[in-house]
Symmetry: C2
Subunit: 465 residues, 2 copies
């Protein structure tokens, strides 16, 4: 990444391909000067900010490259806080790349991925967590992803981290004060009170750190393992959910074209269905090898859909399900499939009720993909499960692995602080651990930064943002 | 196509996919009213035209869909001459499609392909030939295509047609005047003068119509047939030209990704290389079947590259070339290949000179792809050939098959007028043919239009333009 903020940078900011409108964006000290040299119809140097001007872009005296609109933004009232010019041209690759070359020949430099946002960060427009949210926002494919990113962009994560950091700084100053008077063996702060403070912070940090499970699930798609014997109706269900999605998503072509296979947005939530081909049956016993294979997928999932044919008896279904040995906090739904092929009165009892009772009121649903029975209820149950995953988290949810790592490092450091306070470790050693905690926390919003860190963040952006 | 111009239309105007910026555009009476309902940060109804406003788009009371820039254009100072609002959002499919749905729920209608430009045409902003140029401009992939489209957009074709049409109208009024006084057997205009006028117009129309060969070649790529025996180095040359192109085109990734295979932009001109696998040799005689196969490609091409190994003697090369029986106006270049493998002093004479002399000073060039010898000269020769194709045409070049057909119809009608004037056909019959000519000419710029015509033109546009 190039950190020469004195350069004027340029990029095509709209997606590649032909379209009605294509935008080329310049940012930097010379943005307006360069734009003015090629734009005819308005003196951009004298032009008012935040206005649109119609004019011609000329590549030479008598060669008109395009008729377009130019918008001027003057420092500091722009995305980057620098002077910015945006040309809205006809969306032709030829025109946009020619315009780009034209600005390069006049002294602009091709922007690196995310460099506009990097400048917004370096110039104090956004902090680091907010900058990352910009990329998440652009990449978001579901309502839940979008909400997460928008919340982070609007300072949700940053404010929480900043508030914690202020408390930690206050705390640090108390300890450092003790250091200054170290010779005199003064204790400015009551140790028990300090321990309480750290404990309280640890509780909050752990809640935040734990929210990454959900945040990550929302961002990458809530992982749902579909488990069951091969003829339980697993792929039929998957196809039905996929088809359903195609109808639901949006009337706009191309909206979900580039999603990963088996990732589906239903009712504003992105699900990632994990295919488990595993559960094979030999002489009515589930093979251990099959279970082992499925275990991995189950481990990674937030929700498990366990499928079994409705015609099986409730005890064998229950045994199969229990053999999965699901962790206690794993959400599970038992689906009794092919309910259309089965005369419900044949079971002399309410099979759903029976299984549900055996399994601590777990949701049990009979479905028929063929007859479209209860598929709407399944979607409702998935929805409820996701909402249950969210409870216990306050508004702020961490969705970045980087933030998660920084939080874990902060927690580690604070645990050391706690140990130090509880034993007779000198306060200057404790102060060192506090500083570690402060640094780790500061990395999230970017108070603490390194070039490597910035590189790894902004290189994932698209060019032009 | 929907011609309800009272509707307010909306579309995503940037190409599909994630990007830094995505634009949603509204046009129509209610554009500003609808936009104002979802945009917070500025009262758009009272807002000044041609300005950018920063604000939030809310999908409900407490749901922020995006932070974006809104631009307002007020009728008639906009692309469509209607009220127009453009939202420049984060380029996320989710955000853009949600915004689209939001405007639809407030009474906007999804725009059909090209409907913004259709309105620009119906509202008198552009004529039909200029409207078509908008689509050509967006699709253009080479400097030559771009120049052609830009010239047409700026009225090049329209002005010429309009000028011709005025002359024809004047001419028609003379003939119609005769009709009004028909009983009295008056001749208001000297027949010989009239015949001269029509002849003059026919000459000009034919030049214009003939320019379609070049216009079409530029638009679709100048067709170049590569002819020669299989081991003459044909594919090696093609690959070299393709590779060359990749280096030349532009430093921007993706610029030429979606070109048709074997279509290459070199020095601002788009070439379409036609592979001829045909010319096989049996006992030193070129098979007739091979020639027949190659003939078709040669027929379609504007330029023929004939390849032969340099080591062959000039008489047999000359014979092979003559066996192609190229039409007189076909541009041809003879390439003597693998010149690096051959000691030039072995020919006791200048072989290029010898062949060139035998063929009316046709360009002959020895090349070696391996050693990169004379490839630059070949590109120069191609360039020259295209420029020679252009000579004889004035500035205005027809590139649309529709315009070509209308011109041919005009020519047909005027030929009938000519026949009428030369014989004793009554002037009311002649007037009918003149009206046919006028109608055909009027179709080009859209003075004469039908819904079918508009449908066929605008359905080829991208949505959002």
């Amino acid at each position: 990444m190039n950190y020469k903020i004195s350069d004027t940078i340029v990029a095509i900011s709209t997606p590649p391909g032909s379209g009605a409108i294509g935008v080329v964006r310049l940012s930097g000290d010379k943005a307006i000067e360069i734009a003015d040299k090629i734009f005819f119809g308005k003196n951009l140097i004298k032009a008012k900010a935040n206005q649109n001007f119609y004019g011609k872009i000329k590549s030479s005296e008598d060669q008109i490259l395009d008729e377009c609109m130019a918008s001027i933004f003057r420092s500091p009232r722009s995305y980057t806080k620098e002077d910015v010019v945006e040309f809205a041209c006809h969306g032709s690759d030829y025109i946009l790349s020619s315009l780009l070359k034209l600005t390069l020949s006049l002294g602009a430099r091709l922007a690196e991925p995310g460099e506009f946002t990097l400048r917004a960060y370096l110039n104090g427009q956004l902090d680091l967590a907010q900058s990352e949210a910009v990329a998440d926002l652009i990449a978001s494919k579901s309502e839940a992803q979008h909400k997460l990113a928008m919340n982070q962009l609007r300072g949700g994560v940053s404010n929480t981290i900043s508030e914690m950091r202020n408390r930690l700084i206050e705390f640090a100053s108390l300890i450092e004060l003790e250091n200054d008077f170290g010779e005199e063996d003064v204790e400015f702060a009551n140790r028990d009170q300090l321990i309480n403070q750290v404990n309280q912070m640890l509780v909050e940090l752990k809640v935040l750190s734990k929210s990454f499970d959900l945040g990550n699930a929302i961002k990458d798609g809530i992982p749902v393992a579909i488990v069951g014997k091969p003829n339980a109706g697993k792929s039929t269900l998957l196809n039905a959910l996929l088809k359903d999605d195609k109808a639901i998503v949006s009337p706009i072509a191309g909206t979900t074209r580039d999603v990963v296979e088996d990732t589906i947005s239903i009712n504003g939530k992105l699900y990632r269905f994990l295919d488990t081909a595993g559960l094979r049956e030999t002489t009515d016993q589930i093979e251990n090898i099959g279970i082992l294979k499925a275990k991995e997928k189950i481990e990674k999932s937030s929700i498990v859909l366990f499928l079994s044919e409705l015609r099986d008896d409730h005890l064998s279904i229950d045994k199969e399900f229990k053999d999965l040995h699901l962790a206690k906090d794993k959400k599970a739904i038992i689906l009794l499939t092919k309910s259309d092929l089965f005369d419900h009165s044949c079971h002399a009892y309410d099979i759903e009720e029976a299984i549900s009772t055996l399994n601590n009121r777990i949701p049990v649903l009979n479905i028929s993909v063929e007859k479209n029975q209860n598929l709407d209820k399944l979607v409702e149950l998935l929805d409820t499960s996701v909402n249950e995953l969210s409870t216990g988290h306050n508004e702020v949810i961490i969705s970045s692995a980087r933030h998660y790592q920084s939080l874990e490092n902060t927690i580690d450091a604070l645990n050391k602080v706690l140990m130090g306070l509880s034993s007779s470790i000198p306060s200057d050693i404790i102060a060192l651990d506090i500083r570690h905690a402060l640094n780790s926390l500061g990395e999230i919003s970017g108070e603490i930064q390194t070039d490597d860190l910035l590189d790894s963040i902004f290189s994932n952006f698209c060019i032009g943002k």
